[in-house]
């Protein structure tokens, strides 16, 4: 019995490769990429709990079921305009179940100099920029990673953005990934590649929404390259269906004098795993990898981040906050690497957890690995509840207990949201936080 299970686990992704065939024939370049991806999937073992990086979560929920390729399914697409960001009215690419939807996309507000489009289409046109950048970053930052290889094996539709030298894109680019309700379990892999050339500036909002309560497997890979003196702001909002499995990879290169800011908000999915890996490519860079996780019910959220400091003079910042209620389980493992001779690094990492229920569980492991002596690296982790004193203070000012709690949770979460520069995204997240706190106020809170 045990062996049978193990077998299923091992070949789970390989079995799904059978769906690959329907994708081929449009672009030789992508055909080869997929072939290579499939080859890697066959050679890299599926992670098990025995691996240090996977010991806190079980992927059983993922591999116990079978899935179909999302783009093979017929879907009725309901009205999704409520999910459009007002700032990005003319700067949005939409993907429905992984397939590009021209109907729901618009690029009219984006300056002409910017190259933005669907990867599949650019590949058919044999675009040189695409060929130069695609896979370069993820292959470097994720070695021997079966999930990014699987994403490669199904690479077709996706976003490619190239901002040329010296250009500032004022409108935030909205990358909207909508997963529809369906009777069959499906899997979808999306790829987004954002390249900001020298002295350019761009804001990207990566938005995953599940419309139903159905089960699907979402495996997005994002690649970012911030060239010299560029500034890339990346916000990711994950609101997948409550039954979905979301396994994401983000690979970023940050060059000389560049700044990469990323904010990841996790609210949806039954099981989610985020892996931002930031690689410093030259001296004097800045980056931020903040996160907010709001989970309840039986949700599991796992964040494994890597901040790889390879050269001198870097300022990096990571504030990862989690609010956990119900039977939810939050995992955090943040690695700060400082390579030999990467002097004058100023790195900050903090993971704060608000554990509000008896059955909730928190695993946190901030991690420093340092091989240079002239550095200031700090990390901190806390797990706690709301301060009784603070509650008392607010209640003595006339708030009832519910209001006081809501206000404190809201304030806790807000710290990670307030740096996001897109107003409507901020508003949306503020609402999300409100709904979250309201929701769980009805449930058991008093401990």
């Amino acid at each position: 019995m045990g062996k049978v299970k193990q077998q299923k686990e091992r070949t789970f992704l390989q079995d799904l490769l059978n769906f690959q065939g329907s994708l081929n024939g449009k672009s030789k370049f992508l055909d080869e990429v997929r072939l290579k991806g499939a080859e890697e999937v066959r050679n890299i073992p599926f992670p098990t709990k025995k691996l240090e990086d996977w010991k806190f979560i079980s992927l059983r929920d993922l591999y116990k079921d079978s899935y179909e390729l999302a783009s093979d399914l017929d879907v009725d697409v309901p009205d999704i305009s409520e999910h459009y960001l007002p700032e990005s009215k003319g700067a949005r690419l939409t993907f429905i179940n992984g397939s590009f939807s021209a109907e729901h996309s618009s690029t009219e507000d984006i300056p002409e100099e910017v190259l933005i489009g669907n990867i599949a289409k650019l590949a058919e046109e044999d675009n040189d920029l695409l060929k130069e950048h695609l896979n370069k970053y993820v292959e470097n930052n994720f070695e021997e990673d079966v999930f990014s290889s699987f994403n490669k094996a199904f690479l077709k539709d996706g976003v490619f953005v190239y901002v040329p030298e010296g250009l500032t894109v004022d409108v935030p680019l909205h990358l909207l990934f909508v997963q529809t309700d369906a009777d069959t379990n499906y899997f979808t892999t999306s790829r987004s590649v954002v390249v900001a050339d020298k002295e350019s500036e761009v804001t990207v909002v990566e938005d995953h929404i599940g419309l139903g309560d159905n089960k699907y497997f979402n495996l997005p890979v994002v690649e970012v390259n911030a060239e010299e003196e560029s500034y890339v702001k990346h916000t990711k909002i994950q609101r997948d269906s409550r039954e979905a499995i979301h396994i994401a990879r983000t690979a970023a290169f940050v060059h000389h004098h560049a700044n990469y800011e990323s904010y990841t908000i996790t609210r949806g999915a039954k099981l989610s795993r985020n892996e931002p890996r930031i690689s410093q490519r030259d001296e004097e860079v800045e980056f931020t990898v903040d996160g907010l996780v709001l989970i309840d019910g039986d949700q599991v959220s796992d964040t494994h981040s890597v901040m790889d400091h390879r050269f001198s003079h870097c300022e990096s910042h990571q504030l990862h906050k989690c609010v956990i209620t119900g039977k939810a389980h939050s995992v955090f493992n943040g690695k700060i690497f400082v390579r030999k001779d990467a002097q004058k690094i100023d790195s900050f990492q903090e993971n704060r957890n608000l554990l509000l229920s008896r059955k909730g569980l928190v695993n946190t492991k901030p991690q420093l690995e340092i091989f240079a002596d002239d550095v200031v690296c700090t990390h901190g982790a806390t797990v706690g509840q709301l301060e009784q004193d603070e509650l008392f203070y607010l209640m003595s000012r006339g708030l009832n207990e519910q209001q006081a709690r809501e206000m404190l949770i809201y304030a806790f979460a807000l710290e990670t949201i307030e740096n996001i520069t897109v107003d409507s995204v901020q508003d949306l997240l503020v609402d999300e936080v409100h709904r979250f706190t309201e929701n769980q106020l009805d449930s058991e809170l008093t401990v």
């Binding site: 928190v362 695993n363 492991k365 690995e369 901190g380 982790a381 797990v383």
Partner: protein, 482 residues
């Protein structure tokens, strides 16, 4: 001299305990198998149940694989090439009743180490158990301790004289098959100390054990067991040294502490095994399992360690806080230099209500060494009101060393509070400048800063040993530290 050079010269002190004592050993074959274990047991004249304990552990050990998760690199020991039991030849084959029976060479060794065993020279207020390779040579102040009801002797004697106590507690905190090296130890353990403090007793003096590995062929596998009954208190210290050999030697000890209601155990370690030369040749592999169990309510176990020696240190003194309101503490200074590697830290397991733990860990790495802190704080679902506070600071001296921090926090109780913070930095130029401006020379300035960095831990050591620890840090961070 540049500031870095000054720092590096300070950490380059020589090992002062690297001499060898030339004594005659009884023959004992190398390797490990059932016959060897039976032979160890026979030579120690052990009762049947101890032999069974050993054999069961050996069975488990055979099934196990050496773990490879720690952040250290070494050539796995050849378990067939180790002599698991090493005892010196004695006049009439018996343990020394008085000092006159002890080999004068060994006495001299201990004197050289700064632990005179002769009566007139004995350190006042400290009872010493001297362990030389696999056996306990002599225990001082036994009678005085007996007056207070405290039993302090080697574990072999305890097995003979107090079998009922040993039987009850041996393996109750660190089970036979707990981990690879604990299982090995359980199979072949030699002498360590045994302490039993009865109810309502404050042990009248500090207890200490000095471990010395002398034989090049052997490893040391001591086993220590400390039991503190209700409402009693004991403070215990171990010190360790070994000669300079080109070969790596294995030290795989197990230490078990049991604190019953309102009891308190303070366990301090000054570990200065030979650490190998600057090329990483030789040195002790220090793979130790230490665990304390706060069984009763309001009990307390406190670990303090100053780790300066060993080629590889791999140990996590832990506390299981089962009794309500019990307290666990861990204070550690780990210094690594040259090619040393240390992966050390603690585990604090909160089971009882309102349990509290504190972790203060200071790592100093120099030369080409690697120093890792690895810790676990686990709050079980029923540990209401549990609190943990951890600080792990690392200091780097030079550009070729590494400092790593792997803290694991697992909390399953919403009323618990866990706080962890860590930092990595070096001796700041501004700090040195400030002290120099106040009239200190560079060496003194650096030594003051390093001592200040480790102070929180050093002050936890018992008075009698604080001086010694200071000296030890001084030797390790040679120069004018002290």
């Amino acid at each position: 001299m540049s500031e870095t050079e000054a720092l590096e010269s300070m950490v380059g002190g020589e090992y002062k305990y690297g001499f060898t004592t030339d004594v005659e050993y009884e023959d004992f074959p190398k390797g490990i198998n059932e016959d060897i274990i039976r032979e160890i047991s026979r030579r120690k004249d052990e009762p049947e149940w101890v032999l069974e304990f050993r054999l069961e552990a050996f069975e488990k050990w055979k099934q196990m694989e050496e773990p490879d998760w720690p952040n250290v690199e070494y050539e796995k020991p050849d378990f067939e090439n180790i002599q698991y039991y090493s005892s010196t030849k004695k006049k009439d084959g018996k343990k020394a009743e008085s000092l006159d029976d002890v080999d004068p060479q060994i006495l001299e060794t201990y004197e050289k180490l700064g632990i005179p065993l002769q009566e007139q020279k004995q350190l006042q207020g400290i009872a010493v158990d001297a362990v030389f390779d696999s056996e306990s040579i002599f225990t001082t102040f036994k009678e005085k301790l007996a007056e207070a009801g405290v039993i302090f002797c080697s574990i072999s004697e305890a097995i003979q004289d107090h079998p009922e106590i040993v039987k009850e507690y041996l393996g109750s905190v660190v089970p036979k098959g707990d981990n690879f090296y604990a299982a090995l130890n359980s199979a072949v353990f030699s002498d360590g100390s045994f302490v039993y403090v009865p109810e309502d007793t404050v042990c009248p003096m500090e207890l200490s054990t000095y471990f010395r590995i002398n034989n090049m062929q052997s490893g040391q596998f001591e086993r220590t067991l400390i039991i503190c009954e209700d409402n009693s208190h004991v403070s215990y210290l171990e010190g360790c040294t070994a000669p300079q050999y080109q070969e790596n030697q294995l030290h795989a000890a197990v230490v078990e502490l049991v604190a019953l209601e309102d009891a308190e155990i303070k366990y301090s370690t000054i570990q200065n095994w030979y650490s190998g030369d600057e090329k990483g040749q030789g040195g002790i592999f220090n793979f130790v399992t230490k665990r304390g169990h706060c069984r009763g309510d309001n009990s307390k176990i406190s670990w303090t360690q100053v780790e300066t020696g060993s080629a590889i240190t791999w140990k996590y003194p832990s506390v299981i806080m089962q009794g309500d309101n019990s307290v666990g503490e861990f204070y550690s200074v780990a210094v690594t230099n040259q090619r040393q590697q240390a992966d050390t830290g603690t585990k604090m397991i909160h089971v009882g209500k309102n349990t509290k733990s504190t972790i203060i860990s200071k790592g100093i790495s120099a030369g080409e060494s690697n120093n890792s802190y690895r810790g676990l704080v686990k709050i079980s679902p029923r540990a209401d009101g549990a609190q943990n506070y951890s600080v792990c600071d690392s200091m780097l001296i030079g550009q070729t060393c590494g400092a790593h921090t792997f803290p694991y926090i697992e909390s399953a109780n919403p009323t618990a509070k866990v706080e962890h913070e860590a930092s990595t930095s070096r001796v700041g130029e501004e700090q040195i400048f400030y002290l120099q401006q106040r009239g200190m020379d560079e060496d003194d300035a650096i030594s003051l800063i390093v001592n200040g960095f480790a102070k929180e831990v050093l002050q936890e050591l018992p008075m009698e040993f604080a001086v010694e620890a200071d000296k030890l840090l001084g030797i390790k961070l040679e120069g004018s530290v002290g």
